[in-house]
């Protein structure tokens, strides 16, 4: 495992292009585009102000930089560096900006969610969509980029509009039986839309593309409801994490619950492997992974090393006592992610912030629990295989695969606090983001890469 040198970064803005060739990162008002393999700078763009959001177009030809404070969006072309485009939302303000799937339209949401403006890069036409709902996830495109589903709020009622992306024509418009719609999400096959209510009520509705209500699911009443929702990549399962600390898996045939996964604070089943991160520096290594074997020891780069130990059951995990009298209590399943092969589900229960739970979807049971020393910030699956990368805001990155798990110290002078991470499309490299810097972690030991970027580290 090799690490690149450390580059400057601001606002955690660092993204691989969808085709995997480039890596865009922001430093204050500058946008730097590098080659994803060699990390040589390909382009450098200067925006008018501090960049707050970047997004690659689907064809990796354009990059959108949103400057929310100024109500501006600047678009850059990778092929034609001299080409530029600036969209000013004026006094209406700007709170969100995103690409349409065709990469030729930009959807800007004005302040107070007054409307969504659709700007075209091909023609002068501008479309407006009124009444967008200000919610967690109100805009979603299908995977194939044909349709846009939009949450709306009119006359104190929730609606969903389905629009055809090619000409922004309204295809379907229907009201949803929700008190306060919190989010919508297309199934990966683009035929089913999941819509869920706000946390005050546990309710999830499933709509067909043509607007028919397929099913509704309500697990319980009178308590805080859904916190997170995730479709499996095969569209076969819908995982719903809720405030009662459980994940419920719905199937795509009957839309009924297959199973529910609780997140107990103590693990008694000896079949479950509990990896416990231990901060020590003994030569003994537990929980080794089938990652490439360590290259020659590069010397002690860090003072504290950590490793995983397989804890013997029963294990009791550290739990937080949630403040019951505050809004948004730290309980419930706050993060859910299916592995790309739909075989595993990683979850984090917010009342046990240091643990990541990995569930086997084929056997519908808990497979492993990773207990970290500090709270888990973010985790993401390798897009190619069942390999999960986790960061906790420390100077380490953690990887889990069915074969085991490993913690890797990020080399470099000073502390490199990994706050976020994102995988390269190929699963060969991983961008690790800290507050002011980022670096790349190459998981494949390719000679060229290894020699090009000097600093190496071996995993503990």
């Amino acid at each position: 495992m090799n690490f690149s040198e450390v580059f400057k970064l601001s606002s955690l803005l660092c993204k691989f292009s969808p085709d995997g060739k480039y890596l865009a990162s922001c430093v204050q008002y500058r946008l730097v585009v590098r080659d994803a393999n060699t990390l040589q700078i390909r382009q450098l763009y200067t925006c008018l102000d501090q960049i707050q959001h970047i997004e690659w177009s689907a064809d990796s030809l354009f990059i959108l930089c949103a400057l929310y404070k100024r109500g501006l969006v600047q678009v850059w072309s990778l092929e034609q560096p001299e080409w530029h485009c600036k969209i000013d939302e004026g006094s209406a303000g700007l709170v969100a900006s995103c690409w349409s799937p065709d990469g030729r339209h930009i959807l800007n949401t004005t302040e107070f969610h007054l409307r969504i403006t659709v700007w075209s890069l091909c023609t002068k036409s501008v479309s407006y969509i009124k009444y967008p709902k200000a919610c967690q996830q109100g805009v979603t495109f299908t995977r194939d980029g044909r349709y846009l589903a939009l949450a709306e709020r009119r006359d104190c009622k929730d609606y969903v509009s389905i629009l055809v992306c090619s000409d922004w024509q309204l295809l379907r418009h229907f009201d949803t039986d929700t008190q306060d719609l919190a989010g919508i999400e297309w199934a990966p096959n683009g035929c089913v839309l999941a819509a869920w209510d706000s946390c005050l009520e546990y309710k999830i509705l499933l709509y067909s593309l043509d607007g028919r209500l397929l099913s509704t699911f309500c697990a319980y009443e009178w308590s805080l409801g859904i916190k997170s929702v995730a479709w499996s990549p095969s569209s076969q399962f819908l995982a719903v994490g809720s405030y009662d600390g459980k994940v419920r898996i719905l199937n795509h045939v009957t839309w009924k619950m297959i199973t529910e996964f609780g997140h107990p604070a103590t693990i008694n089943n000896p079949k479950i492997v509990v990896y416990k991160e231990a901060e020590k520096s003994p030569p003994l290594v537990l929980g080794r992974l089938a990652f490439p074997p360590p290259r020659a020891a590069a010397g002690p780069l860090s003072s504290t090393e950590s490793k995983y130990e397989v804890a013997s059951v029963p294990v009791s995990l550290q739990t937080l006592k949630p403040a019951a009298d505050r809004a948004n209590p730290r309980i419930g399943v706050g993060a859910l992610a299916f592995s790309p092969d739909s075989c595993f589900l990683a979850t984090r229960s917010d009342s046990v912030p240091t643990a990541v739970w990995i569930w086997d979807i084929q056997k519908l049971r808990l497979l492993a629990v990773l207990e970290q020393l500090s709270a888990v910030r973010c985790f993401q699956w390798d897009p190619r295989q069942a390999r999960l990368a986790i960061c906790t805001g420390g100077s380490k990155v953690y990887l889990w695969s069915p074969a085991g798990c490993v913690s890797v110290q990020v080399p470099g002078e000073g502390d490199f606090q990994v706050l976020s991470l994102c995988w390269h499309l190929s699963g060969d490299s991983l961008a690790l983001l800290s507050k002011d810097h980022f670096c790349l972690c190459f998981l494949e030991t390719e000679q060229g890469v290894g020699t090009a970027f000097g600093q190496r580290a071996d995993h503990t």
Partner: protein
């Protein structure tokens, strides 16, 4: 005595008073009277008591006594007077008689008194006892009463508690209901408020929209160097009704595609399942058909009908086109037949399970018990024989000693006997050799028996293992559908068909072969027993008895007719009992002859030595 007590003559007032003083008077009133009357006489009485009779008053006292005695019904102390005036003579004889009678009476009284006293004592002690008992019972009663009160109190408390808890529960329930209603009302209120707020917010938004958007904001604009081409290279199309229709079409196409894909998947899954079902059915049929005979023999009414169904199904199976029909028509039939077959299979498996458990539990014991009984009987017999043989040996020894003693006494007789025995010696030697040979034969036989037992045990074990493995395989084959089990089926049928016929032969063989009841039930047992045979003392005894018996039998054989001996030699399976029975009547003789032979031998050797 009764009349003695009831005397109430006025004349004898003071006497009775006296008596009442000495011996408790019956009535206090009477004694009172007497006391009153006797007060002036008290002194007299005293003096009279201290010295009843003095020199002076002999006459008076006699007369007084006479009076007294007559009143008490005794004959008079005086002789019968002829005249009234004449002085009556004292009749000594009467006096003595009276005295005697008085003494007798006194003794009687004393006895009675004693009796009464003892009775009194007894009664007193009884009384005490009863009083104790009474006190105890009273105590018990008291304690139980107290206990009862305590329990009642506790009961009352518990009831109280229960009532309280009920009340609490009710209160809690009420509370819950109240809270729920509060929540509901709050929710409605919240929703209401939210709606109101949202309306206001919407109004504001609308206003803002108008303000912001209607100003013709110059700033809201897009500066672009040049418009880029569409990603698909096509030009944008006009929005018309056509495009709308096309969009609809496309949407439905997508949906249709999805449904088709899903249907295909479901069809594939269905086909797979059908395949599995078909295979399962086939295998079930092939599995269950060889069993047909057995259940029919058992005349199971339910399985009989089902088996006919199976036959039908088997026929059905040939025309496989039915399987490809849509499920609608075949479904019920199919599920029913599968269910039935499954039931049969289940019952069969259960039966097998039972059999296996029987084999494991009863099988061992059942046959084992029998064999053990045999074994015990046999050992008992053998022990008896040992006893007899020991007795025989004792008698032989005694006889030997006697003979030795006699032989020492007179040499002539011994010489005579010697010469007489020399004749016999040859015969005895012959007998001896024969005897030895027989012994050897018996030894050999015995060894072969043990070997056979061991072999049988091993065989049985192997059979058990085979059976277990077969069962396992059978079960596995039921779950996994590989094509191997045609062989297994054969195996199974072979087993199931002939197991009952096979088993008796297997079991009967050891019974025939092993007369001393080597266990044929379980391989483990047999092996254990055969292994422990040489070590255990009982078996060594057994060996001894065997040899002993063989000796005796040979002797007896020699003594009896050759017709009898022949079957003994040829028929090796002949039981010991026969031998012992045969030996018993002539044991004395045999012993004697055996002893004599040994003695003779020694004697001969002695003779030969010098």
């Amino acid at each position: 005595m009764g009349d003695w007590m009831t005397v109430t003559d006025p004349e004898s007032k003071y006497i009775s008073q006296y008596t009442s003083e000495t011996k408790m008077s019956p009535s206090s009133l009477y004694s009172q009277q007497v006391l009153c009357s006797s007060i002036p006489l008290s002194k007299n009485v005293h003096s009279f008591f201290s010295a009843f009779c003095t020199e002076e008053n002999i006459e008076q006292s006699i007369s007084y006594l006479d009076q007294e005695l007559t009143t008490f019904g005794f004959p008079s102390l005086y002789e019968e007077s002829k005249g009234k005036e004449t002085k009556r003579e004292l009749n000594i004889v009467a006096v003595l008689n009276c005295m005697n009678e008085l003494l007798v009476l006194q003794r009687k009284n004393l006895l009675a008194q004693e009796n009464v006293e003892t009775q009194n004592l007894k009664l007193g002690s009884d009384m005490d006892h009863l009083q104790n008992c009474y006190a105890k019972l009273k105590e018990q009663l008291e304690t139980s009463r107290r206990e009862m009160i305590g329990l009642q109190e506790r009961d009352r408390q518990l009831q109280c508690k229960n009532r309280n808890l009920h009340q609490l529960l009710k209160n809690e329930k009420d509370e819950v209901q109240k809270l729920q209603s509060i929540i509901a009302s709050r929710a409605t209120q919240y929703n209401h408020d939210m709606k109101r707020k949202e309306r206001e917010y919407n109004k504001l938004k609308e206003r803002l929209h108008q303000l912001v958007m209607n100003k013709k904001d110059k700033k809201i604009a897009m500066e672009v160097l040049n418009y880029v081409g569409r990603a698909d290279g096509k030009r944008g199309s006009w929005r018309t009704g056509k495009t709308e229709a096309r969009n609809e079409d496309e949407m439905y196409k997508i949906l249709l595609n999805d449904y088709e894909y899903r249907q295909k998947q479901i069809l594939m899954e269905n086909a797979e399942l059908k395949k599995v079902l078909q295979q399962m059915k086939k295998e079930m049929i092939s599995l269950l058909s060889p069993q047909k005979q057995k259940p029919r023999e058992r005349a199971d009414d339910s399985t009989g009908t089902v088996i006919s169904d199976i036959e039908e199904d088997a026929g059905e199976l040939s025309r496989e086109s039915t399987w490809d029909l849509s499920c609608e028509t075949v479904r019920e039939q199919l599920t029913n037949s599968i269910r039935k077959q499954w039931r049969i299979l289940k019952s069969h498996v259960e039966k097998l399970d039972n059999q296996v458990s029987k084999v494991h539990l009863e099988g061992f014991n059942d046959e084992d018990v029998i064999s053990r009984q045999d074994h015990e009987q046999e050992t008992e017999k053998l022990e008896l024989e040992i006893q007899q043989c020991k007795e025989m040996i004792k008698t032989q020894q005694q006889l030997l000693q006697q003979q030795l003693a006699t032989a020492c006494d007179d040499d002539t007789t011994s010489l005579l006997r010697d010469c007489y025995l020399l004749e016999e010696k040859e015969r005895l030697k012959e007998e001896w050799s024969l005897f030895k040979e027989q012994k050897k034969n018996f030894e050999k036989e015995r060894r072969s028996f043990t070997e056979a037992a061991i072999r049988l045990g091993l065989e049985r074990k192997a059979f058990e293992e085979e059976r277990a493995s077969w069962l396992k395989q059978q079960f596995l084959n039921m779950t996994t559908f590989d094509h191997q089990n045609s062989e297994n089926v054969k195996l199974f049928s072979a087993f199931s068909g002939s197991s009952d016929r096979d088993n008796p032969t297997v079991h009967s063989r050891p019974r025939q072969k092993k007369p001393h009841g080597a266990p044929s039930g379980s391989p483990v047992c047999t092996s254990k027993l055969t292994k422990s045979l040489p070590a255990s003392p009982s078996t060594s005894d057994f060996c001894q008895t065997r040899s002993c018996v063989s000796e005796h039998s040979s002797v007896s054989v020699l003594n009896t007719t050759p017709e009898e001996s022949k079957p003994n030699q040829v028929g090796r399976e002949c039981t010991n009992q026969k031998w012992s029975v045969a030996s018993r009547p002539d044991s004395q003789e045999g012993c004697y002859s055996g002893c004599s032979s040994t003695y003779a031998n020694s004697h001969v050797e002695k003779d030969d030595l010098p």
